[in-house]
Amino acid sequence: MAIPVKLEVFEGPLDLLLHLIEKNKVDIYDIPISLITEQYLEYVKNMPKEDLNVVSEFLVMAATLLDIKCKMLLPKQEVEEGEEEIDPRAELVQKLLEYKMYKYMSLELKDMQMGSERYIYKKPNIPKEVSSYKAPPDYESLVGDNTLQSLNELFKVIMKRNEDKIDPIRSSFGKIKKEEVDLDKKQLEVCAYIEAHKNCSFTDLLSKQKSKMDTIVTFLIILELIKVGSVDVKQEEAFNDFTITYKAPFTRIELV
């Protein structure tokens, strides 16, 4: 069973690597990759897995380390003449050095911040007379290119616009009265029609209606008649016409 180890917290994989390099007292320019990789993986194995984002960042570095380790185990490739042999660790070393430099500077900054904590600045105290001051109007820039003439033109435009708002033709039209559908009358009409025909077509009934409102009301009346059992409605096939059949005497319908 693994012994629970209290793990140090590192800012990231580079931070951990630097720590391992320092702990092992090895040269950053000549990292013993096997040793460091082994210790690195050991740490990652034990690290808390709650935050997968953090873990994955450490795993990416683990993969890089293993990759470098493999390259170092392989026999050295023939290098073209004049070209320097590239150490597989070079890129990592560069990154580590850069990171180390900023980390070092961050410690300097920390000291600097502590050193400048002891100064106190003040809030603005702008006297009321100053903050409430309003510059006198600069008439020259206010008027700008405007002249009495342009003001007059503008006034004409406004008056014209105002006039245009009144449409001389439409304003002379009389009011059109809304046609109300008399429900009682309509109901009697529809019922009489069905009673007279015994069997009638729904489409025919609707085609006899004058307006959209008449059609809607007729449809509602039919629905109500079905509900109270005065008529039967049959449809032979989907999308075909309905046949309305008279069944029982009509009672007065209250359409709401």
């Binding site: 702008i126 007379e129 510059a135 003439q149 006039e163």
Partner: protein
């Protein structure tokens, strides 16, 4: 605490607080006697009284405060209120033209003609001094009547309101006729 340091500490406190500070609080904080504090305060006041100092100590009840000397307010205004280039907005110009040619007018008159609330334009024009209240209409609510000012005449180069290009009823009739004509053309097509 030596005298110089005490004086400096009082200045530092007054500066950092910005607002007024009770004398007794300063005495407590600096652990000095009332006499020592009074002495430091006097020394500071003497300092600030010099012509090459821009701040002063103001005493209020039992408190003291640092404040800018009044004679530098003009300099402060120059640095805090960078003047913006002023110009009349289109809305203000419309409103001004209506007031100029239909005066005296009420807020409602202007609003009816422009079709939008024109309070802010009217207020701005009053603030600039181009228009002013000239009376009240003898109607319910006795609404204010606006007219143009001398400043308006000066700025727009007119000698008197009578010199304004007139907008007479005939012109309005013209507009009406014109509008009807346009519709007629449209219908003819």
């Amino acid at each position: 605490m030596d005298k110089k340091r005490l004086k400096a500490a009082v200045e530092a406190i007054l500066f950092a607080k910005g607002e007024s500070v009770e004398s007794k609080d300063i005495i407590t904080a600096l652990e000095c006697t009332e006499e020592e504090f009074a002495e430091a305060l006097d020394a500071l006041k003497t300092d600030y009284a010099r012509a090459d100092r821009g701040i002063q100590i103001v005493e209020l009840e039992n408190a003291i405060q640092l404040r800018t000397k009044e004679e530098f307010y003009d300099d402060l205004i120059k640095i805090t209120n960078v003047p913006k280039k002023q110009s009349l907005t289109d809305a203000a110009l419309e409103t001004l033209s209506i007031v100029a040619y239909k005066q005296p007018v009420t807020r409602l008159d202007v609003e009816k003609i422009r079709g939008v609330n024109s309070d802010s334009s009217l207020n701005k024009l009053v603030e600039y001094g181009f228009i002013t209240e000239v009376g009240r209409l003898d109607a319910p609510g006795r609404p204010l009547l606006f007219g143009t000012t001398e400043q308006f005449l000066r700025s727009f180069g007119v000698k008197s309101i009578e010199d304004l290009p007139q907008m007479n009823p005939d012109v309005l009739e013209d507009f009406k006729a014109q509008a009807e004509k346009e519709i007629q053309i449209k219908l003819d097509i």
